[in-house]
């Protein structure tokens, strides 16, 4: 089995490398198809490998090269299994999506080459067994993603957004390097397994420093508040499958990093690590969804929603660390399973949503919710698939989002088992914030589905959209995966339990899945629910309204007049709710957070009806840019300006520097 | 309960007992005109038809055609008709048949005047 897993990993890597090379021929249709085919094969291999790795519980070790700076060692650890499976699934779906989304061109060729190499480097990052391999893979992945975002570099705003992405990625990278450097020097090894084995002997202060640096460093990539500002900038400008890849997978790599440090490299940390992580996560979740509600651009909205979901995942991780630190290892393992499960779930449905957002953008020419409407008639298949993704992400039964959020709440509600009352209260607060997020998410996604798909088209572009030649199979695959992950949750959770067993060292299978396909949160008497039976029940119960309808149909022929509209002359699309107005209650309630600037302009002050159009402009104040980033940037610029005289350009001054250094070196080495 | 209390409650109910009983004040409500056909002349009828603001009165040959549907009970024909026009006291004029609201009153006054 281990050999099979290894073979699959190598196959995936090879397929993606081949896909990158084949992409060079993507200026023609055949090259595009070949590249996508290979990419899809790699995806299938990776997905299968990930699943097998999770089920089997241990993976092989591979080596590339020896000696120099530690060489490149790869080890398929179970913790990476869900991420590898997700990588494979996302890659497969995007491979199905690409042929109809991209047109064969030189830009496409470069883009697909870069994308497949990014897949390869993500895989390398997930299976890296030593520090150098990890860091190289990480940086490569970041740079490749930067290039992916620059696909349409000639459009306005793209270069700035991409720069924001890479700048923040680099800052995070520096912190990650520092974290690894601390661990490597303190344990004297560059091999991750050895570091994990020796970490307990490192001084507690160094361990905490390493963990915090890693947490903050990976937070930049994961998109936790306040390091999230690159997400809403980069996602709209990247092509749809690029955004899907970013949101579906790349930000999960940040989560992987945190999990790696928290559970593999530095296990058994103090509770405050978990609390800080949980705080990060909960705040990101709430702020993410609150900012999402103010967005009119569909992709920016989805980007903020990704921030919200990563917040939820990180909250689960933090809670797992907290519970484990207080001796509740079963709940700790349960919450780790929840985090991994939600990672896979979110990867699936967010990728789906971004791919469909790409279809909407291509068919209607706009991402603005206030210019869309009535798409359920024009794009029926897209509407159905988007609906499945919406129901899943809004955590509605019986799909996967519901199961993972239920499990998260069940885990958090068991905070009373912790001996410290303060920590128990903090966990409850985190639970309350996540609950608020859940409610706001339903509001947000009802708006995100209702405004573009239902009602009347708000613009000519939306009225004439056509679904022909649009990709369907990729998103449909992901929709099927959502349904499977939800209804087949007992299966998926069994696999994740093996992962948790290998990572956290505790097997909670008996306290996780009960024989009747039920899921229980680590303690039998606490609660139980079966997603499979729930889905079957919902299907069965939907027969009731259908029967009532069939039985209640009138026997006599009936007249069907138009809908009663109060006798008005005609419905106009302008009479409908817009995305802006639909979120108004939230805007008013949370005004101290948004600090909006509102600008109202009338053509004249004539009495009502004759004053001409009224222009209303509403802008949310970007408090993080304004109060965190700008001051920091100003400080850096000030310091740089202070240091400028050193580099005056005067050759004599430079010679003086050389002289001083030589004198100092002489003095130091002479003594 | 004391009889006076009961009687007071009864008198105190302000709701009309219609359709069981019509209130006494209803007699003073504005109502459609009624005519003494013996005192009607063609000339009078023409004058009344001219002045009716609702167009309810018209003369057809030797008959005064009164469209009760159009009458607004303004009372001008009452004032101008001398004794020939009296309020009829009828204000409950609902009908399913529009034609039933058009009444004809023969003009008999002329014949009497005509004959010397």
């Amino acid at each position: 089995m281990t050999d099979a897993i290894g073979a699959l990993a190598v196959t995936a890597a090879g397929a993606w490398l081949a896909a990158a090379i084949a992409a060079l021929a993507a200026t023609r249709r055949i090259g595009l198809l070949a590249s996508c085919l290979l990419s899809g094969l790699g995806g299938a291999a990776a997905c299968t490998g990930g699943v097998l790795l999770a089920v089997h519980g241990a993976g092989p070790t591979l080596s590339l090269g020896t000696g120099t700076v530690g060489g490149a060692h790869f080890h398929l650890a179970p913790l990476a299994a869900p991420f590898i499976a997700l990588l494979g699934l996302v890659a497969g779906a995007i491979a199905l999506y690409c042929p109809r989304y991209h047109a064969p061109a030189r830009g496409t060729a470069v883009y697909l080459g870069v994308y497949n190499l990014a897949l390869l480097s993500s895989l390398a990052l997930l299976i890296a067994a030593n520090v150098v391999a990890f860091l190289v893979a990480w940086e490569t992945m970041a740079l490749l993603c930067y290039l992916m975002i620059l696909r349409h570099h000639d459009r306005a705003g793209v270069a700035d957004s991409a720069f924001l992405f890479i700048a923040l990625s680099e800052v995070g990278f520096v912190l990650i390097v520092l974290a690894f450097a601390i661990l490597a020097t303190r344990t004297g090894s560059l091999d991750l397994a050895t570091i994990a084995a020796r970490a307990s002997r490192v001084h507690a202060g160094w361990r905490s420093a390493a963990f915090l640096l890693a947490l903050f460093g990976f937070a930049f990539k994961a998109g936790l508040v306040p390091f999230h500002i690159w997400l809403p900038a980069a996602h709209p400008v990247a092509p749809a499958d690029g955004s899907a890849f970013l949101s579906g997978l790349i930000i999960k790599l940040g989560v992987y990093g945190v999990a790696l440090f928290g559970f593999t490299l530095l296990p058994g940390g103090p509770a405050w690590w978990g609390l800080v992580t949980m705080g990060f996560g909960a705040i990101s979740a709430v702020l993410g969804i609150l900012y999402a509600l103010m967005e009119r651009d569909l992709k920016r909205f989805l980007a903020y929603s990704s921030i919200e979901n990563v917040g939820i995942i990180v909250t689960a991780l933090g809670a797992a660390l907290t519970f484990t630190a207080y001796g509740q290892r079963a709940i700790g393992a349960f919450l780790l399973i929840v985090a991994l499960y939600h990672t896979v779930n979110h990867g699936t449905y967010k990728t789906l949503l971004f791919l469909e957002a790409g279809v909407i953008e291509h068919t209607t020419g706009t991402r603005d919710l206030d210019r869309l409407g009535g798409l359920i008639r024009r794009l029926p298949r897209t509407a159905v698939i988007f609906l499945i993704g919406t129901v899943a992400i809004a955590a509605l039964p019986p799909l996967n989002g519901f199961v993972s959020e239920w499990m998260l709440f069940q885990g958090l509600f068991q905070g009373f088992r912790i001996s410290s009352h303060l920590v128990g209260i903090l966990i409850v607060i985190a639970g309350a914030l996540i609950a608020l997020t859940g409610g706001l998410a339903i509001n947000a996604f009802a708006r995100a589905y209702g405004i573009p798909f239902l009602g009347m088209p708000r613009s000519g572009q939306a009225a004439h959209a056509s679904e022909s030649h649009q990709p369907v199979s990729g998103p449909a695959l992901l929709a099927g995966a959502c349904v499977f992950l939800g209804i087949g949750a007992p299966l998926v959770l069994t696999a994740l339990d093996r992962v948790a067993r290998a990572t956290a060292g505790i097997d909670i299978h008996a306290s996780l899945i009960v024989p009747q396909l039920g899921v229980i949160p680590a303690h039998t008497k606490f609660s139980e629910f079966s997603p499979t039976y729930l889905a079957a029940f919902m299907l069965a119960i939907s027969a009731v309204p259908i029967l009532i309808y069939l039985a209640g149909r009138p026997l006599a022929r009936s007249r069907r007049p138009p809908v009663w509209d109060g006798g008005i002359l005609a419905f106009r699309p302008r009479m409908q709710y817009t995305a802006t107005t639909d979120a108004n209650p939230i805007r008013v309630t949370f005004e101290p957070l948004y600090r909006p600037t509102v600008h109202v302009e009338r053509a004249s002050d004539d009495p009502a009806g004759r004053s001409g159009p009224v222009h209303y402009r509403f802008r949310v104040t970007p408090i993080f840019e304004k109060y965190l980033y700008r001051p920091v940037i100003r400080l850096v610029e000030t310091l740089a300006n202070l240091a400028r005289p050193i580099q005056s350009g005067d050759v004599n001054l430079y010679l003086f520097y050389v002289f001083v250094v030589v004198v100092i070196a002489y003095a130091v080495y002479a003594s | 309960m004391a009889f006076w209390f009961y009687r007071g409650l009864r008198r105190g109910i302000a709701t009309t007992r219609y359709p069981d009983k019509l209130d006494p004040w209803a007699r003073a409500l504005p109502s459609a005109p009624s005519f003494h056909s013996a005192h009607l002349t063609s000339e009078l009828v023409d004058r009344l038809s001219e002045m009716c603001p609702a167009g309810a009165l018209a003369r057809v040959d030797r008959e005064l055609v009164v469209d009760l549907g159009r009458c607004s009970a303004c009372g001008r024909c009452l004032d101008a008709g001398g004794g020939a026009v009296q309020p009829s006291g009828e204000f409950l004029l609902a009908s399913a048949d529009r034609a039933a609201l058009v009444k004809r009153v023969p003009i008999r006054g002329e014949a009497r005047h005509g004959r010397q």
Binding site: P561 | D23, H39, G69, F91, R98
Partner: protein, 172 residues
């Protein structure tokens, strides 16, 4: 638009009238009324509004007002059928489910006061078929109650037997 074009009466003629009468009799003690104003001076509306007041209280007779034509059994139409209100009146008429009745209320609705011209039809029955006519300007709430009771067949109409000739044989 002329009334004939939208009659659900079809070729049944008298039979349809009888059918509607029977249906209306079924409404006897529970009739829901929706008022439609096609451009009246609103005095008829004042009298209609008084129907719900304690003095006249149409609820004790089993009549109720409803704002939704979908829930209505009866349309109480006032005004001289201004052409601009055609859309409104016809939509309300189509939205009211069968069996239904239409009462035209007031002298304007019956063709008085305002003759037909470019802006108005002049009478409601030029737009929708009318079942009961209630004259008056405005009709007293008592007259309105009589109109409603005549519609559901709880009262006979008085005007058929009425004679305006005070000097007729047999009168006086």
């Amino acid at each position: 638009m002329v009334a004939n074009e939208l009659q659900p009466r079809g070729d049944l003629g008298e039979l349809s009238v009888e059918l509607r009468r029977r249906a209306l009799r079924l409404f006897g003690r529970s009739l829901h009324i929706r008022t439609v104003d096609t451009g009246s001076c609103a005095v008829c509306e004042s009298e209609i509004r008084l129907l719900a007041a304690p003095h006249y209280d149409l609820h004790r007779l089993g009549f109720f007002f409803t704002p939704a034509p979908r829930h209505a059994d009866l349309l109480m139409v006032t005004g001289p059928a201004v052409r601009a209100a055609d859309n409104l009146l016809l939509k309300a008429y189509q939205a009211t489910p069968d069996p239904k009745a239409v009462i035209a209320v007031g002298a304007c609705a019956l063709g008085g006061v305002y003759p037909e011209d470019a802006l108005i039809h002049g009478a409601i029955d030029r737009v929708v078929p009318v079942d009961v006519f209630v004259p008056g300007c405005p009709p007293s709430p008592l007259a309105l109650l009589q109109g409603l009771l005549v519609t559901v067949g709880r009262l006979e109409d008085r005007v058929t037997a009425l004679s305006l000739d005070l000097d007729a044989e047999g009168a006086g």
